[in-house]
């Protein structure tokens, strides 16, 4: 099998991509940072959070780096004032959507939303908070889901479906009323499909899915298992 090599430019640097790689893959290989939230190595990209949008020269539209494949000679810009403003506004929108209170969160200090906000220099949220009233489900023996901290990135849904194969999680409703659910929107502890494997907890970028018994700032997520597991499972099938 011949693997075509594509050469293109990211932020003025000449880079090359193997067939099938996305702009994000190539940027990572070359230590060029692009912020991401919904993307996670080992899971199918969905292009939903829109913080990895990049500019492409001579293209009017901004494109998500996580799903866009480079073409020969393409000039990608990953950082500009315009992109920074959009990423900031999107981050602020996420903070405004639910009730994110870092100071009391078990994931404080280990939260991808929090660290992205820091990196982007989001000092305060300029869009009004929506303050939805959302429940916390602690019916599972080992884990808790706190919808107030969920950013609907769908990582839990994807890992449960694509890697664990249980498909316990899915999304209900639409628009701002979306919420992650287990089985028929029943308490997690009563789910018949859940294998309690805990993968969803570890891929969750925020404190929405956590292990029980952790105090503030104690919940550290591990996602290293994912690419390995994915490769192993693919090689079996």
């Amino acid at each position: 099998m011949s693997t075509a090599i594509i050469t293109f430019i990211i932020d003025g640097r000449d880079v090359s991509a193997r067939e099938g790689q996305t702009i994000l893959d190539v940027a990572r290989e070359n230590d060029i940072p692009i912020p991401t939230l919904c993307s996670l190595q080992g899971l199918h990209p969905v292009g939903a959070c829109r913080v990895c949008l990049v500019e492409i020269k001579n293209t009017p539209k901004l494109l998500p780096a996580c799903v866009t494949r480079p073409s020969e000679g393409m000039e990608v810009i990953t950082d500009s004032e315009r992109l920074r403003q959009y990423r900031k506004t999107i981050t602020e929108m996420l903070f405004s959507e639910r009730n994110h209170v870092c100071a009391v969160c078990v994931s404080n200090g280990h939260c991808e939303l929090q660290s992205m906000a820091e990196n982007l220099g989001v000092t305060h949220v300029r869009v009004p908070y929506l303050y939805p009233r959302l429940p916390v489900d602690a019916t599972h023996a080992r884990f808790t889901v706190d919808h107030n901290r969920c950013i609907l990135c769908s990582r839990c849904v994807r890992v449960c479906d694509e890697v664990e194969g249980a498909h316990t999680w899915d999304m209900q409703g639409r628009g701002v009323d979306c919420r992650v659910i287990t089985d028929l929107k029943q308490p997690w502890g009563t789910s018949e499909s859940c294998t309690s494997c805990g993968k969803c907890v570890h891929v969750c970028p925020t404190g929405a899915l956590t292990e029980k018994g952790k105090a503030v700032a104690e919940m550290v997520k591990r996602t290293q298992f994912l690419p390995y597991l994915k490769t192993m499972r693919e090689s079996w099938s």
Binding site: A166, Q172, G173, I181, T182, D183, L184, S193
Partner: protein, 166 residues
């Protein structure tokens, strides 16, 4: 191709399950027949409950969460039983411009229910639609499946009164 081809038993002896099963069979119990199957359930039973969602999920070999996700994504489906009579007020642009909101206000005033709600005596449910395509006759309402157009709030109220028989 479903690995397990054994047929899922209907939740009860109710004959309406046969109609639902017919639709699922027509789609070969494949996943792409899910929305059509949910339409069949709603047409037969008036709404989707946990029992029917589980039955459809099991028959089509789909995870329950996926079925629930689809059922709640599409606003045509309802997970709550409806009242004996239903009044759908069209909220398309033409109807909005021509005073559909006044009709909703009037219903709320008369029956104390907002869109999506049912009166406590279970007589009347009021719903809204995203344009039923009868813009030439705006504002349009559909009462118990029959459409009427160009009604004022008063005329609609009268019409509902007649149907509900209050």
């Amino acid at each position: 191709m479903a690995a397990d081809s054994s047929k899922i038993a209907a939740p009860s002896a109710d004959k309406r399950w046969r109609l639902v099963d017919n639709v699922m069979r027509r789609h070969g119990y494949r996943a792409d027949g899910l929305i059509e199957s949910l339409h069949a359930v709603q047409e037969s039973f008036g709404y989707l409950d946990d029992v029917s969602l589980r039955f459809v999920a099991a028959s089509l070999r789909l995870p329950p969460s996926k079925v629930y996700g689809v059922a709640t994504f599409y606003h045509f489906f309802t997970l709550k039983p409806q009242g004996e009579h239903t009044c759908v007020v069209c909220l398309g642009t033409a109807c909005y411009i021509k005073g559909a909101q006044k009709i909703l206000d009037r219903i709320e005033q008369d029956y104390g229910i907002k869109p999506g709600e049912t009166t406590p005596d279970n007589k009347l449910s009021v719903l809204t639609a995203r344009c039923i395509g009868s813009c030439g006759l705006a504002p349009a309402v559909v009462i118990d499946g029959t459409m009427s157009g160009k009604l004022t709030a008063d005329e609609t109220a009268e019409h509902i009164c007649r149907c509900v028989g209050a």
